[in-house]
């Protein structure tokens, strides 16, 4: 009898393992635990057994019944929770449109560049776009009649005001206000009096950077820009310096970036040279430091003028600069 009970348990357990759905489960319940089920049958037999065996076998039979019931209930729960049949939706149907607005691509790139600089300990500043001759030119070592003014086609306004031709107008303003040491960037809108075509616009964005501290050198400028551009382009970039003349830096440089399209092998983007001109930069001229009230014997520093608009065009391969200020939503919704 005891063996019978143990066998019953064994076959029940192995059948339970194969339960796939509730129908099968119901059949099993009927087969083992139902009124005419096998276990019920054994229990009935126990009644007729000799009395000295009865308590022991009865106890075992009840234990097994409880055990089987428990296993059954657990399985039933699992099977039931499986819920309905799986449904196959059409995954090729377009989803319901979740509308969203869009930031301007220049804003997106500007914020990326700002974040990279901020993580290197630079602060972000802003200043006037309508500017005086003094801060746009004279304070930057570009006095009146200086030939360097030729390359700054300027929009002039009443009272000899002008629209700033570069974000460098903030160099002396910021030094006057904050003094040295200083680490800041000034992104913003600049203007040049020139006619527009696919690669020129009279309104464009620059991001000026200025770092003044003790013992700043050219190697610091290269390393800072290399780290930063690598962060912006999300790849290890290579840069090089070559001489460039800007009256507010000495020495002055043009910084080139190794062509990201051909990796320096030469292609149409870099005019086969392997390098793309990226930005003017240099060590801040002592006259500019003096104009900002900083002692050039104690401090030195670097400045650079990153062409944000150019960066945006490079990043998204935009071939017409005029799209940026067109307000055309067919363009702006792409970003």
């Amino acid at each position: 009898m005891e063996k019978k009970l143990q066998d019953l348990k064994k076959t029940f357990m192995s059948e339970m393992d194969n339960v796939k759905d509730s129908q099968f489960l119901a059949d099993l319940k009927k087969k083992y635990l139902g009124r005419k089920g096998e276990l019920t049958g054994i229990l009935k037999e126990v009644k007729d057994m000799a009395s000295e065996e009865k308590p022991r076998v009865g106890k075992l039979a009840n234990e097994i019944k409880e055990e089987l019931t428990e296993v059954f209930n657990k399985t039933e729960k699992i099977i039931k929770n499986k819920g309905d049949q799986a449904i196959d939706f059409d995954p090729t149907m377009p989803g319901t449109k979740r509308q969203t607005g869009h930031l301007h691509p220049s804003t997106i790139v500007q914020q990326e560049v700002e974040d990279a600089f901020v993580s290197m300990g630079f602060s972000v500043y802003d200043g006037p776009q309508l500017e005086s001759d003094y801060y746009n030119f004279t304070a930057l070592n570009i006095p009146e009649e200086h030939p360097a003014r030729d390359s700054h086609d300027t929009f002039w306004l009443e009272q000899n005001w002008l629209l700033r031709t570069h974000t460098s107008n903030l160099q002396v303003r910021m030094l006057e206000k904050h003094g040295a040491p200083f680490r800041g960037i000034f992104p913003g809108r600049c203007f040049r009096y020139e006619s527009t075509d696919a690669s020129h616009d009279h309104t464009f964005f620059q991001l000026e950077g200025l770092m003044i501290d003790k013992g700043i050198n050219i190697g610091n400028l290269i390393a800072t820009m290399k780290s930063l551009l690598s962060a912006v382009f999300n790849t290890d970039v290579d840069v090089r310096l070559r001489p460039g003349f800007f009256p507010f830096v000495e020495p002055g440089f043009e910084m080139d970036i190794k062509c990201l399209v051909c990796e320096g092998k030469g292609c149409s983007v870099c005019k086969q040279s392997g390098w793309v001109e990226l930005m003017p930069c240099g060590m801040v001229h002592p006259e500019v430091l003096k104009a900002g009230g900083v002692d050039p014997n104690e401090y030195s520093g670097f400045a650079f003028g990153l062409g944000l608009t150019r960066l945006v065009m490079m990043k998204y391969r935009i071939d017409d600069i005029r799209l940026l200020e067109s307000g055309d939503l067919r363009f702006l919704k792409q970003f």
């Binding site: 969203t100 607005g101 930031l103 301007h104 220049s106 804003t107 300990g121 602060s123 972000v124 500043y125 200043g127 006037p128 776009q129 309508l130 500017e131 005086s132 003094y134 801060y135 304070a139 009649e145 030939p147 360097a148 030729d150 390359s151 929009f155 002039w156 306004l157 009443e158 005001w161 629209l163 303003r173 006057e176 040491p181 006619s195 770092m211 501290d213 013992g215 050198n217 050219i218 190697g219 610091n220 390393a223 800072t224 290399k226 310096l241 070559r242 001489p243 460039g244 003349f245 000495e250 020495p251 002055g252 440089f253 002592p286 940026l324 200020e325 067109s326 307000g327 055309d328 939503l329």
Partner: protein, 809 residues
Amino acid sequence: MYLSLNWVKNWLKLPKDISAKQLALDLTMSTVEVEEVIDQAAMLDKIVVGKIKEITKHPNADRLQVCQVDIGETTSKIVCGGSNLTKGMLVAVAQIGSQVRWHGEGELVTLAKAKIRGVESNGMIAASTEIGLGDLFPVKDENEILDLSAHKVKSGQPLSEALGLNDIIIDIDNKSINHRPDLWGQYGLARELAAIYKIKLKEYAVADLTPQSKGKLKVTVTDKKNCFRYLGLAISGVKVIESPLWLKSQLQAVGIRPINNIVDVTNYILYELGQPLHAFDNRQIANNNIEIKQAQKGESFVTLDGEKRKLPEGALMIADSEKYVALAGIMGGQNSEISQDTTDIIIEAANFRDISIRHTSVVLGLRSESSARFEKSLDPVIAETAIKKAAQMILELCPDAVVASQLVDVNNNPFKEVSLQVPEALINNRFGVVIPTADIKDILKRLQFEVSYKAKTFNIKVPSFRATKDISIPEDIVEEVARIYGYDNIQAQLPIVTLQEPRANIAYQAGRDIKRWLALSQLYNEVYTYPFTDQGWVKKMNLDIIQHIKLKNAVSPEQGYLNLSLLPNLLKRAEENMRWYEEFRIFELERVFDKSSKGVYHTEKSKNKFLPKQDKVLAGVEVSKQTQEQLFLSIKGLISSMMSYWGIDWNTERINLSYAKAAYQIKYQENVLGYFGILDSGLFDSGGAKVNVGFWQEDFTLLIKYIGQAPKFRQLPKYPSINRDLAVIVDKDLNWQEIENEVLKVSPLMQHIEPFDIFVGQSIGDDKKSIAFHLEFRSDDRTLLAEDIDKVMENIVEILQKKFQAVRR
């Protein structure tokens, strides 16, 4: 500026293993920016000298002939229409594959084998203009082919070699030599190459002049402030003729059109030394008298290009004792220019003040090779070298010519010798790498600085050609050393600095946040517009253009004024987008310019003058198919959310705007932060679409001053609240705010009240409206019972009835 490698070979031997491309790169990395390398020989590739052996008539064309041309190893059959063809003539044969310009016009084409009127032709016999040599060999008749018989050339010789047209020209970006007057001549560029390649540079030697006759040339410098030096020399017995080929081709190589021997010599020196010269016809100089003085108000002068020019007051002029004869440093006068029959000349080599020349040239809008150099601040020392060299060349070109005066030299050179003491540490600290002392010394010497070294300091004497403006401070020496040593040798190293205190920048942070918020949560698209206001919309909106800041030089009249509001441009952009979209939202955050208010930015160091106000404004436009009321509520909701995002407890008040159907101010206490409203629909061209346009604009610079503290935490409710709804009929023009204020006062249990339906209709009377609203009640110390609320509801109805004659529905 063009650098001719043949030209600089007069003074140095370039390393053989350096290609033109490499040389261009080396120059770019150490000195100036190279734009292009032009290989003259490549332009004349597959063009050779040929000798005409036989000429026969073309069978099918009267004006064409068929020539057998000896081109060295073979003989070629070529069809030709040249009017001057003769047997035995030496000609230029453009072979198959060469590049020519048909009749000297249009684009370059590559020659292919062709049948001309049925006869095969292997290339062409070229006219000078067809192979880019029109300046060297001017044509007299349009069908004339280039006759090389007078030259020492052999058939079969490549033309470039035969004529010595094998120069390599390096095109240098003028912008990159703005600060280097010494690089505006071939010799200066040779000096740089010598320094870069560590090669020997021949000294620029000139002989002294011996006058053959004693002419009376008198020079008076009246304006000493602007004329630093003036050298004059008379030469008589010159014969004005075409220059020899070597001179013509050298000038042509650097882009200068040969004119005649005298003018060509002055241009040659200009390009060799960077020193402009001028030659006067001595017949036209009254009394051998030259005076340098300023133009008076209202005078005019005819320059040698035939233009009569109104002279700016103070323009520096060259005069004789009767009249002006040249616009100093810019252009000569028509009255004294060299002509075919000129025999006696006066050569001028002068040095004028950069600012004076630049000013006059800008005012007149007249730039020349000469003015471009003077405005860079030339070295007065070179003028003497230049005039001596010019005289020497003219004497060589005109065997009968003699020096006919003393070399008159009025020298007021204001430039002092520049000596600099440069600590070695400055160079190394700026560079970030230690350069051996000997290397520094060597580099400076190669650049012709005089250097001595004592107590870790370089004592440097700057050569005069670098001392006019270019090199004046120790930092300039850092650059000289660094660029020749090579920027590639600098070690990139991140700066080691002291941490700085963070500087909170609310404007920056708030600007970034709100842009994201508008774009990502409010379906707004960010647009950028120009700073120039759209005048069409300014007019439509009935704004006063006079209040806008006017540009002195606008790119076009439509872009003549600066924005005083962002709305005109945004509305213009909205209208344009109607072609593609029926509904959309756009916004912009930028500065606008208000001349009626003083801004915060000062104009100069003294800090007592200020620029006009140029606050940033945040503005948006919504184009929507909703009803005007729905759109109004949508924009009101936007402003509310924005203000609560910033923690600004705002209020509003109706205002009149000429362009709005309805408009309301955004106020914080008594400060007006902006306004919003619904545009007068007649103004907006929607292209036929049934839309309404909402707008809003905030003074962002002002608004961020009122951004509130972070919200304070409130305990979560301990007891449940009870909600009820109520609908009342009231007068149509009763503001919701009044109802809300009254209801909130009724009981401390009132937590929140919010309208959800407004109904207007005849059934309740024309001047009435029905407002339905949700009410939320809660107590902080017990669970409310229905009876509690019933009582409060009764009170509410009672109060509303008393105050507003409201009737419960």
